[in-house]
């Protein structure tokens, strides 16, 4: 029992969480933009998976992780454009397009593995170059922080920077203000001179770029390989983080980090012989718990006389 409690606060778990959190934070911070702009996208998983594949390919071809990521971002944006055309132009339902894309991504990447690399299931090669870990000198002298924060790959730090930057963009710039306006009341935003279509597109592109980057971090974080369905549900966790965080980049990142933390904790806890099936439930249970807690808090603020306007068409009972 004591062991378990110790594990909960051990720096090892936090260090793991920081690493695992990187793609989750990057992806969900991107999702904040579409969420705030009022576009309903579920397809994080699709963007990330396709990005993961092309990051692997890019890195394999160019020998550089950064180039891999850039290619991943580009391809992810292309898929996003497909989404945008279907949803914005052709008025298709965002949810159904998302689900179809999530499905399709798995089939497409697997077929691409065959056509490009002539392998099935997984592709592993020493030519796939991952990101190198970065050592921050001054952290060396700080005992716990050093273990938790130091010697991680670049994208890990980038994730945290992105979260902060997204917050500033969202709440401190005209762009962010208008973006939120578009999501809250599109007609009103239009009368305020905002080009709704352009803002929705921009938000979508930002989201796709972020998901692309997030997806590229997965194969290039050290494993240097691509496997079928490699994102394995991370996209859904990103979605959950965005919904729980309400599209606020900071809150969303915190939630994403919480998921990463439960994941890291799981990896340590399995050594204690607890049933893995139950332990695996922890992140999902955590989502629900966080939701409950955030709603309880929401209730308190509601009591102070504020009201939330429903953004999506949904049942409020």
């Amino acid at each position: 029992m004591q062991e378990i409690l110790l594990a909960v606060i051990s720096p090892v778990v936090f260090a793991g969480a920081v690493r695992i959190a990187a793609p989750l934070i990057i992806g969900s911070v991107g999702g904040c933009f579409t969420e705030k702009s009022g576009t309903f996208v579920l397809a994080y998983e699709c963007f990330m998976l396709i990005a993961a594949f092309f990051a692997t390919w890019g890195s394999y071809v160019s020998g550089s992780a950064v180039v891999g990521s850039l290619i991943a971002v580009a391809v992810s944006i292309l898929v996003g454009i497909l989404f945008g055309i279907l949803v914005f132009r052709f008025q298709a339902n965002g949810m159904i397009v998302s689900i179809a894309l999530i499905y399709g991504a798995w089939a497409v990447t697997t077929l691409l593995l065959v056509t490009i690399f002539q392998v099935r299931g997984s592709f592993i090669s020493p030519d796939i170059i991952s990101y190198q870990t970065v050592s921050i000198p001054f952290l060396n002298r700080v005992p716990v922080l050093n273990e938790v924060l130091n010697n991680k790959i670049g994208p890990v730090y980038l994730a945290f920077i992105l979260a902060g930057a997204a917050y500033v963009v969202m709440y401190k710039t005209p762009f962010g203000l208008r973006l939120r306006g578009v999501g809250m009341n599109a007609t009103a935003a239009q009368t305020a001179g905002t080009n709704i279509r352009r803002y929705k597109w921009t938000a979508l592109i930002i989201m796709c770029a972020c998901c692309g980057l997030a997806g590229s971090v997965i194969p290039l974080s050290g494993v240097s390989m691509f496997t079928e369905n490699m994102t394995s549900g991370r996209g859904f966790l990103c979605l959950a983080a965005v919904l729980v965080g309400g599209g606020n980049p900071i809150k969303t990142s915190i939630v994403a980090f919480l998921f990463a933390y439960t994941d890291a904790l799981y990896l340590t806890l399995t050594s204690f012989g607890l049933p893995t099936q139950l332990l695996s439930c922890i992140p999902y249970g955590a989502v629900i718990l966080v939701l409950i807690v955030s709603k309880l808090r929401g209730r308190r603020t509601a009591a102070l006389g504020t009201r939330r306007s429903g953004r999506r068409k949904k049942l409020t009972v």
């Binding site: 710039t173 305020a192 306007s309």
Partner: protein, 515 residues
């Protein structure tokens, strides 16, 4: 020359929705520095026209001249840049944002080229508020504000954007007499400093009060361009609806009998705020009880408490036709014969996504009840719908048309028609004639009076003081959650009631003094 006298000219504006011609070659000239009223029946195409001016809709044909020059706006923003600002019928607010953010949206002050400069924006807005005598809380969240304040926010927003021409779409429909006076003062002031105002309204009296020029629309066409001094109210009404309409309720003699609604000690608390305080009220069959009051003083909660949508405090007693009902659900009360016309008819009165018949029979399934309890009798439902459409002259292509395609006024008629047809005991009405034209108002008033005469008790909650005074047998004024007696029909003058609305009874005054 005369050319430049007109700041805005519309020539042959045409707009169709499918086969429906909403604007049929409309010509309109607005003089600089004047207040120009556009009036017309429901669905006459006024909002559409205004939306064309601000480029929210693209016209199918015609041209717009601004300061004598032909112009084609690229987007609503472009119109704004050219000094045209619109206050929409449905306010364009961002509920989650602060008033400050609401106003500066789209016209942000910037810091270092990329960041928002809220300080500077605040200074500018405060200046505008000072100059034009507006008083609005800049840091409040928009959705916590009452409509009257929101309207000011909307006007300030338009001014902040540098508008020279202000378009107001039915600006008074949500205001109290005092609020309306405030608005008119603002309008006159704006005119005095050289702004041009284009105002849409249904209320003829207001037209005479502020307008310099009047354009009347009917069925998408201009039927008249007149000056207020040249016409009488009757003539104007005639232009609008094509026949004589005199807005005068003819109260019928009805025999007032046993109480259908008794409220004792009714209190409502919402999110910790006391909305209703120990109300006592009685509505008898055959009687119309009118409740006047400014927005936010608790009328909505009163209606909610009576129909069962709002939970009342423990000690409250509500009797409907003598039966204790405070614990009963909305549906049970409906079965007891309670009808309800909600204020927000677009959102609460109909299902916009559904077809007309679906909205028309709502409540029918429980009140009259279809003969078969579980199976829906489509034939009956359709007949009932057709009956309403006929009797209330709802303009629609048919009962399978989607409600969303009906104009605002016709949706109103649909709701009012349904409830009046269905109700036989107690009818709770909030603003029955909000946003509809004189012809329809006359018609609806008559219907209300008629069912009262037939023996229904009516609780009429209206922001239209005139309406309350004309229709009600007894008048109450709601102030801050309490009721003040306003006398029987014709006893008190409009000014006296208006005073009660803003100040409440003496008791409250004393209370205030004590604090």
């Amino acid at each position: 020359m005369a050319e430049t006298d007109y700041v805005l000219e519309l020539k042959n504006i045409r707009k169709t929705f499918g086969t429906l011609v909403a604007n049929d070659n409309i010509n309109l000239r607005v003089r600089r520095g004047s207040v120009h009223a556009v009036i017309g029946e429901n669905g006459a195409g006024k909002s559409t026209l205004m939306n064309i001016i601000t480029d929210l809709y693209e016209p199918d044909g015609g041209e717009i001249l601004l300061n004598g020059k032909r112009i084609r706006f690229k987007d609503p923003m472009d119109a704004t840049r050219h000094g045209i600002g619109m206050v929409y019928q449905e306010f364009m607010v961002f509920g989650d944002l602060s008033v400050l953010d609401n106003i500066m949206m789209g016209f942000e002050e910037k810091k270092w080229g990329i960041f928002l400069n809220r300080t500077k924006a605040r200074m500018r807005i405060e200046e505008i508020c000072r100059d034009y005598h507006f008083n609005i809380p800049l840091d409040a969240r928009a959705d916590t504000l009452p409509v009257a304040v929101l309207q000011q926010v909307e006007i300030v927003k338009v001014l902040y954007r540098g508008a020279d021409i202000l378009i107001l779409d039915e600006p008074t429909s949500v205001l109290t007499p005092q609020g309306i006076q405030g608005l008119f003062e603002a309008i006159r002031f704006l005119k005095a400093i050289g702004k041009t105002i284009l105002m849409i309204t249904h209320k003829l009296r207001e037209v005479f009060e502020v307008a310099d020029e009047i354009t009347v629309l009917k069925n998408g066409k201009v039927t008249g361009n007149v000056l207020p001094d040249e016409v009488t109210e009757e003539q104007l009404a005639n232009l609008m609806v094509g026949r004589e309409v005199i807005l005068q309720a003819h109260k019928l003699n009805s025999r007032i009998k046993s109480p259908v609604l008794q409220l004792q000690n009714v209190s409502v608390k919402e999110n910790g705020v006391q909305r209703l305080k120990n109300l006592n009220l009685e509505v008898r069959s055959g009687e119309i009880v009118g409740i006047a009051g400014i927005a936010g003083s608790g009328q909505q909660q009163l209606a909610g408490a009576v129909v069962g949508l709002t939970r009342v405090e423990k000690e409250s007693r509500i009797r409907i036709a003598g039966i204790e009902a405070q614990e009963k659900s909305v549906r049970e009360r409906k079965k007891m014969g309670v009808g309800y016309i909600p204020q927000d008819r677009m959102k609460e009165g109909v299902n916009k996504a559904g077809s007309v018949w679906e909205s028309a029979v709502m409540g029918y399934q429980t009140v009259r009840g279809f003969p078969r309890k579980y199976l829906l009798d489509r034939k009956l439902a359709e007949d009932f719908t057709n009956q309403i459409i006929r009797e209330y002259s709802v303009k629609t292509k048919g009962i399978h048309e989607k409600v969303i395609n009906l104009s605002g006024g016709n949706i109103q008629k649909l709701v009012v028609g349904r409830e009046i047809t269905l109700c036989d005991k107690l009818l709770v009405i909030e603003d029955p004639t909000r946003g509809i034209d004189v012809g329809a108002i006359e018609f609806i008033w008559e219907k209300i009076l008629r069912i009262a005469a037939a023996g229904a008790g009516i609780l009429l909650i209206s922001h239209e003081l005139n309406e309350v005074m004309q229709l009600s047998d007894r008048i109450f004024v709601m102030y801050n959650g309490t009721l003040e007696y306003g006398g029987v029909h014709g006893e008190l003058k409009e000014e006296e009631i208006g005073l009660l609305m803003t100040r409440g009874g003496d008791a409250d005054e004393k209370e205030m003094e004590n604090q």
